[in-house]
């Protein structure tokens, strides 16, 4: 898994590539929590290049969302490949997260 951070139109975008599993999710958690600790108001996560996610990866995003909600922050996910989106749906998390089609949708939501 690789993580890339960029600013897009003034918003922080976390681009994740590869497999998010029990091995890689601690690094992802550290990255997300690092931004959340600065009370970031909006954080977007680009899933376009995520090839796999397991329950520990999902748990990482649930934890991040819960932290952000405590101070009114917004976490938006976009570009979820079909298989990843299906896992969020099965877990009933597609109604919990703000899931957008692409970066422009995520910025404009």
């Amino acid at each position: 898994m690789e993580i890339e951070i960029k600013d897009y139109k003034g918003v922080k975008v976390i681009t994740v590539s590869g497999d998010i599993d029990m091995y890689s999710s601690p690094a992802l958690r550290e990255e997300l929590i690092g931004h959340i600790n600065t009370k970031i108001s909006v954080m977007l996560v680009d899933f376009n290049r995520v090839s796999y996610i397991d329950s520990s990866g999902i748990a990482t995003f649930v934890e991040a969302l819960k932290h952000m909600k405590t101070y009114g922050g917004r976490l938006r996910l976009f570009g979820l490949p079909g298989g990843v989106k299906e896992i969020f749906g099965f877990s009933k998390l597609d109604k919990v997260f703000e899931i957008c089609g692409d970066i422009e949708d995520a910025i404009g939501t």
Binding site: D21, I87, K92
Partner: protein, 132 residues
Amino acid sequence: MITVPSAPKYLCLIRDVTARLGLSVGLEEPVINMLKLAIDEACANIIRHAYKGDTGKKIRIQYRITREAFEAVIEDSGKKVTPELLQGRDLDDVRPGGLGIHFIKRAFDVVAYDEKKKKGNRLRLVKYLKEE
């Protein structure tokens, strides 16, 4: 059969083997993805609960694939699992964790621990394959 160390970095290897075996018998990609995720979750549970994070142990997976079924028997020598581990959380109770068992039960028709195994755990997973 494969045997891997009980470390998270080897989970990708288990996923790869599972996917290749599924492909070799002509399973569809969505089915392979479910089996791969389920076996990954079962092994992650072993690392987390049976071995308590000890990466120096072994996980053994024996695959048996016929026209009728895709079967995986996963063994460890760690702490016995408790029945609660097979429950998972209510999917409406949104919180980190507790999803893995749901992924396992979704993918496999049979999810059964061998209660006769004296030391460690033996989990038998069977997915029945429908004839076209």
